[in-house]
Symmetry: C2
Subunit: 506 residues, 2 copies
């Protein structure tokens, strides 16, 4: 980038003035040259006294800033999610962003390679958390808690190849709800599915479907089809791809890459193409092969009960028993589920946004025991809302429909048409702030009235308080509605009350 270096030369003198010269030694400076970046490239020099180095101003790969507009959308989503969690009696919990590296070991199977480790700077070996489930299990074991219903909203980090277009990032936010404890079967599990329904309905994302399966049914199916036990996990992760690639390709992978006998693959094929409601559960009970497997029967029994409860909750029609659902994670032991949005053909044309699953979860009865010195288990079931996916959809829609978002909540703007009125504006705005009213002014001694009114229109501020010499003399203030442009004079001492009245009415 030779041309950019030329620019640096010119900027050099300016930078010299800005950088505070200090006697501190050079050893604190870590020099790192950088390579290929596709973003608009800005360069900067931080070391005017040494060799020049080009630094690209960007966020790390797979991460992003959330702008004020984006923050508003995200907060709206999180509000809906968290208020649903609270409606179901969950307590809040927070855990550190990083855990001792050992805490995350052997919890994620093949995905362990995606964990971010911290540099060994002396002391403990640390890793950024990969999800909120393992820290929750660690918390339960550490505090010897036998039951807890908690929610947790927080960032997690995964070193995946980012395909940002699908809302997939290396840093992303998860919203988890989990119920830990020994209870009567399927009541907490049904509540988790009810919660997913409430949230997806509440966010008005359109129609959706939750696929449900059970790890025991899956394992039983593999067993009766003749999959060797050592291949369960590998075959499971092939099956998991069925919503992305065709059965033909999955079959090829199982036979050619994973060494499964073709007739075994075909037997599996018969099952994984089945999906339906509680009638399919009944059908599987009668299936000559499946009905021979104890594990599978246990799973089917629980699924039957689950459907009964889901019917009472009024959400059974959103749920599909799907033998192809095979969530990859090691820690699931019972029911598993994954929610996806359904697009109408019209929508699919209008918004060809591939979003995949927007919520998922399942039962993991063995995870807490992995942390407990005596292996004591605490059965758990939970769900995770894929807020980033939902965020991508909402953002896309807003762009499509050109929705304008307010990024501030300012209710009142303090303006003046006169010069040298800063003092009065400051006194007035302090009065508003002290009354809890959200208020702004321009940080200028003598702003133009038009500039001030334009600001209100641009920012969507509904009310303007105008003070001038005439008003000051008469002990009044002009209150202007930005939308209607109506102005009324109000006694200074009644101003706060009048504003509060107007705001409570709107």
């Amino acid at each position: 980038m030779p041309q950019l270096r030329l620019l640096h030369g010119r900027a050099w003198a300016t930078l010299l003035g800005q950088l505070r010269q200090s006697p501190r030694a050079v050893y604190l400076r870590a020099v790192h040259s950088h390579s290929q970046v596709s973003e608009a490239v800005l360069t900067s020099q931080l070391k005017p006294h040494q060799e020049k180095s080009n630094i690209i101003i960007k966020t790390p790969k797979g991460t992003r800033d959330l702008s004020p507009q984006q923050m508003v959308v995200r907060e709206k989503i999180l509000d809906t999610v968290v208020s649903c969690f609270k409606r179901h009696g969950a307590k809040g919990l927070d855990t550190p962003a990083f855990e001792l590296k050992e805490m995350l070991t052997e919890k994620y199977g093949e995905d362990s390679g995606l964990i971010y480790d911290l540099k060994d700077q002396g002391g403990e070996l640390l890793s950024l958390r990969y999800d909120l489930t393992v820290p929750f299990a660690r918390y339960l074991a550490m505090n010897k808690l036998k039951k807890m219903k908690r929610y947790h909203v927080g960032k997690v980090w995964r070193r995946e190849s980012p395909t940002i277009v699908q809302g997939r990032y290396r840093e992303f936010c998860q919203c988890d709800f989990d119920i830990a404890g020994q209870f009567d079967p399927m009541i907490p599990d049904a509540e988790c599915l009810k919660i997913i329904c409430e949230i997806l309905s509440g966010l008005q994302l359109g129609d959706f479907l939750i696929k449900v399966n059970d790890r025991r049914v899956l394992d039983g199916m593999f067993a009766v089809c003749g999959v060797p036990e050592s291949k369960f996990y590998a075959i499971c992760s092939s099956i998991d791809k069925l919503d992305k690639i065709s059965w033909k390709d999955v079959r090829h992978e199982m036979v050619a890459k994973k060494g499964l006998a073709p007739e075994v693959a075909d037997r599996i094929g018969d099952y994984v193409q089945c999906h339906g409601g509680v009638s399919l559960v009944e059908e599987m009970f009668q299936d000559p092969r499946i009905s021979q497997n104890k594990q599978a029967l246990e799973g089917l029994g629980d699924l039957k009960l689950l459907f009964e409860y889901l019917t009472l909750f009024g959400v059974a029609e959103k749920i599909s028993f799907d033998l192809s659902l095979a969530r990859g994670l090691d820690y699931y032991t019972g029911v598993i589920y994954e929610a996806m949005l359904l697009q109408t053909p019209a929508q699919a044309e209008e918004e060809p946004l591939n979003v995949g699953s927007v919520a998922a979860g399942g039962r993991y009865d063995g995870l807490v025991g992995m942390f407990d010195p005596k292996g004591h288990n605490v059965p758990c079931v939970g769900l995770s809302i894929g807020v980033e996916r939902i965020f991508s959809i909402m953002e896309h829609r807003m762009k499509t429909f050109g929705e304008k978002i307010r990024t501030t909540e300012t209710q009142v703007f303090v303006a003046t048409p006169q010069k040298n009125f800063l003092q009065e504006r400051l006194k007035l705005i302090a009065e508003l702030w002290d009354a809890g009213i959200k208020a702004e002014l321009l940080y200028k001694n003598n702003p133009k009235l038009l500039t001030q009114l334009h600001y209100c229109e641009n920012m969507g501020i509904p009310l303007v308080v105008i003070i001038g010499e005439q008003e000051l003399k008469e002990g009044v203030i002009k209150l202007r509605s930005v939308a209607s442009r109506e102005e009324v004079a109000i006694k200074r001492e009644n101003l706060v009350a009048e504003i509060q009245k107007r705001l409570s009415e709107s």
Copy 2:
């Protein structure tokens, strides 16, 4: 926002002592001091089928989980802080937890050794953010923004020797508010101080004081006292200790360790013991030495204007011009401030909690320019609220006064005195959830009524809905107030309306 120097007492002196040594010394210390786990130590075998390995179940050194009780306290604090930021028209912003390592280089002076680096796993070199100020400046430069008023609540990470008893952690939450842009002097600066006052008053932490100084006054004072320019930073950091150690000790450090001439130290001593209101600013204008320094005069002029605005805002009596305030960070260029709680003698005896500064900030007009390829500056001023400190105080008070905190928001509990009533309970609770009512039940087929009522009392749930065979026949529901134990029968179809009425009344 500007890094919070929230240390005090002996911990401060120790840390500064460490920092003054080479980074290698700090590194070695970290290596040798990683043990000592104060938590109850649990050990676990994660590989039951392999060799046993004893693993201690804990959070990393200097970090902690926040329990549901603690989350309630923290959320209360954050609500107060964020609603104040919004009252002042700030927009939200979020940035990734880690930045490219180069972004953080040369921004923190001696504190750079405290930055957490991520392991090089291929790809970019990354570091966890150390504060929210540098990411904000990076965001402004990257997006070429010339003005922005934003707040940011987020975690930051610093590899400090944790003294947890004083509310100091390696992972902690910062709440920052900053105003970027070229405006008329001291209006945004005054608003920052007003915000600190509003927040500290709103949190009802007792009386407080905000010390104010200006980097230019400090530099000018050093110059007229005869401190060589090369020693400004070192002397600044000695001065910074004046609220923790005596002037005698500071003087000794400056003379013996930093090689300052004794008469120069004494001249400084005359100044740094001065503090007062706007009259002290006037006095300094007349000071025969200070008045010779152009930089100092600029700073004093701004401080005079600042006091004028603070008087209009009604907070001048909370502010003290203090020539000993010398916040260490490189990036400050103008006014600087630090808020501390004042304890009455009675309080100091009752709650001997050393909390030091709870908010701080200042003007940093050169930081954005460090990222800009052409060195274009965006003047900034901001503040950071030390939520962890405030959290420690609040938690301590709650323990002292034995306050009980509700960790859930559940409004209604669905109970039954009868066996085999799970189906009716599930139908009923779904009705409540769908009406937006926060409701819970026990996850048992046949819980005892007493167990159910006890749960409500323990959890502070105000209302119980009781359904039994009799009620079912009559088409009614019993609604019970937990506090008064009164029960009334309500028609099933009126239940939701009646509950909503009662909740809106309470």
